[in-house]
């Protein structure tokens, strides 16, 4: 029983991380049909900012966290302005390949300007201490991560339902032209989407750094690959789908670690991706995909 509770908690914290990143991908995709593969490098920028601030002798962790999140938001906005605005009205393939290119450039810039090797960042270790609940051993980081994700989702829902900009963003995911005709600036809506995705990436960066304690050029690539999968499985462009996909992926990963024999441990990713492919065969548009229109209805 304890073992099941323990593994469920693990699955939740894994899933929370994926959901956090997947939300950042989905919010951009829902509005401008862009698969933002460069999201991982926005996370890495968060990590590198922490490294720089720590070496500049900032001791207060709150300032470092704020700095990292701010850097991620600025990076996301900057990428939108210089790389993604020119391909805004192009098809999804063009956007995807542009994002791949941006991701490649940034990864190699980190490699060139900082270091190809991991650099230790210890300023987030204070988030991590072991907690015993009866016979269950968990880390405080897992609790923080799950809580932070839940709070982020809650605030995001409030923002999307209550604020004017949030309502405009939801409308834009259905019919962007109409939103513009209502007198809302397209640039503002898209910038808001990127700012939110940058914010989520910044939060994700904090937890990734807290767990790994080091930053390297490919810090964000693998988590974003997984989050991308989570998005597609949940239904690309659907925010609840991204969250569902994230938690599903977390559960699958932990399930694989528990069920697979030790010698197959390294094959975890292969099994997870195979299951994902099967889910996609069952529902090609993802589990919670928005209904797709083909042709004119009139």
């Amino acid at each position: 029983m304890d073992y099941i509770v323990q593994q469920t908690l693990n699955a939740l914290s894994f899933g929370a991380e994926y959901a956090l990143i997947a939300l950042g991908l989905a919010i951009v995709f829902s509005i401008m049909n862009l698969v933002n593969f460069a999201h991982g490098e926005v996370i890495a920028i968060g990590g590198y900012t922490m490294m720089v601030m720590a070496t500049l002798a900032f001791k207060n962790p709150i300032i470092i966290i704020l700095g990292a999140v701010l850097a991620a938001i600025i990076m996301a906005l900057f990428l939108e302005r210089i790389a993604f605005r020119p391909v805004r009205y192009a098809d999804a393939t063009t956007g995807l390949l542009t994002a791949f290119g941006v991701s490649l450039i940034l990864q190699n810039l980190f490699l060139l300007l900082v270091s190809p090797r991991p650099i230790a960042v210890t300023s987030m270790y204070f988030l991590d201490w072991p907690i015993r609940l009866g016979s269950i051993q968990i880390s405080s980081l897992q609790i923080f991560e799950t809580l932070a994700t839940l709070i982020a989702i809650l605030l995001l829902v409030l923002f999307l339902k209550k604020s004017l900009l949030g309502i405009a963003m939801r409308a834009a995911s259905l019919d962007f032209e109409m939103v513009r005709l209502m007198g809302i600036r397209a640039n503002r809506v898209i910038a808001a989407a990127f700012a939110i995705s940058g914010l989520l990436a910044g939060i994700a960066a904090i937890f990734i750094i807290a767990r790994r304690g080091a930053v390297d050029p490919t810090l964000g690539f693998n988590p974003v690959l997984k989050a991308f999968v989570a998005c597609v499985v949940g239904g690309f462009g659907s925010l609840p789908g991204a969250v569902l996909g994230g938690f599903l992926l977390g559960a699958l990963e932990v399930g694989m670690l528990v069920l697979l024999p030790q010698s197959y441990g390294g094959m975890k990713d292969a099994f997870v991706f195979a299951i994902i492919a099967i889910i996609l065969v069952w529902r090609p548009e993802g589990i919670l995909s928005p209904p797709k229109e083909k042709g004119d209805k009139i």
């Binding site: 290119g101 060139l112 690959l225 094959m267 990713d269 195979a274």
Partner: protein, 349 residues
């Protein structure tokens, strides 16, 4: 059943493929005559990449679905051929606990290549059944899944694939002449497929799938065919890779190679074979120069700093600039034989 819509498209295909073959063979022969020994290796690798880019073009150029699994199929082709052709004496050393008696037989190079093509082609067909059901982003994610799955199998079944270590002792079967001939063959295959009625129908369906299927185009079967044909060409690329280098390892068949070949295809223009060949030539020569700069050389008396990662930045910049400025690639729909035609035959772009 006719393969080509008209005599003209057949003639165009023959002309275009012949001109490209002359170009490709010309570069190779120049290197054989004038190049030094280490040039041969570089140029051979460039030909392997050309085969990969052509294999990628057959599916991606005609369907406009981004495929990122091509390096995995190349790897499969390379490993299957390598396991079949390597002598038993070497395999007893390198794969002491291989299952299913994999280290207890050896075949000649030709049968190994046939077996490799059969197995990789069959796997491509099976995965194709999944790919063709999906569209756009969903299909791309499944190609990533294939890449990750194949890579983890290579890395963790060390008893068969040696993982990060090198699989060594593959006899050298091919030289530069052989791969030039194979490249010419593949250029013809890819170009014929592009001009065949199936190629035209596929490109029509990638522009507008609803209208194309209303016109009676069987999109599923055509995509499946293109995917499998692409897989076979990629397997051939893998076989050529293994048959020349003598050692292979899992690492080259992953994301960095995926991006390299993708940039080659995108730069030239993925809809045309001319674009695929042109992009491969340009990136190959360009990267050689960039790699030279990476090492921090002394030029005109100035010592440049060592700049690791410059080649990655260049590739990324090529992809982004092409997508932003000219998303059909440098040549778009243009094929090389159109340069030599005057008047009515030049299509409006």
């Amino acid at each position: 059943m006719r393969i080509f819509q008209s005599m003209r498209s057949f003639k165009n295909a023959v002309w275009g493929a012949s001109l490209l073959s002359i170009l490709v063979a010309g570069i190779g022969l120049l290197v054989i005559v004038f190049g030094e020994k280490y040039h041969l290796r570089l140029v051979y690798a460039a030909y392997v990449n050309l085969l990969v880019v052509l294999g990628l073009q057959v599916f991606m150029g005609n369907t406009n679905i981004t495929n990122l699994s091509h390096s995995a199929f190349m790897g499969l082709g390379a490993y299957v051929a390598a396991i079949c052709v390597t002598p038993v004496t070497i395999k007893k050393l390198s794969l002491p606990d291989a299952p299913w008696g994999l280290n207890a037989f050896e075949l000649d190079a030709f049968s190994s290549a046939i077996i490799s093509l059969t197995i990789t082609g069959f796997l491509a067909f099976l995965t194709g059944l999944i790919i063709v059901r999906l569209s756009g982003i969903g299909a791309t994610i499944v190609t990533i899944a294939i890449l990750v799955i194949v890579h983890s199998v290579f890395m963790h079944r060390t008893d068969i694939f040696k993982g990060k270590q090198a699989f060594f002792g593959i006899p050298q079967v091919f030289d530069l002449y052989s791969i030039i001939i194979i490249s010419i063959g593949v250029i013809f295959v890819a170009r014929f497929f592009r001009e065949s009625k199936w190629g035209i129908q596929l490109r029509a369906s990638s522009d507008d799938d609803t209208s194309a299927s209303a016109m009676g185009v069987n999109i599923f079967n055509l995509r499946l065919f293109a995917w499998t044909l692409g897989g076979l060409i990629l397997a051939m690329a893998g076989i050529c890779y293994a048959y020349f280098l003598g050692t292979i390892s899992a690492r080259p068949f992953y994301f960095s190679h995926v991006f390299l070949t993708l940039a080659m295809l995108i730069l030239g223009g993925m809809r045309s074979i001319t674009g695929a060949v042109l992009g491969t030539i340009m990136i190959t020569f360009g990267l050689e120069w960039v790699r030279f700069m990476e090492t921090g050389p002394v030029l005109i008396g100035i010592k440049f700093p060592e700049m690791l990662g410059l080649s990655g930045i260049t590739l990324g910049a090529v992809i982004v600039l092409i997508m932003v400025l000219r998303n059909g690639g440098l040549v778009g729909n243009f094929e090389i034989e159109q340069m030599f035609r005057k008047g009515r035959n030049i299509p409006k772009v």
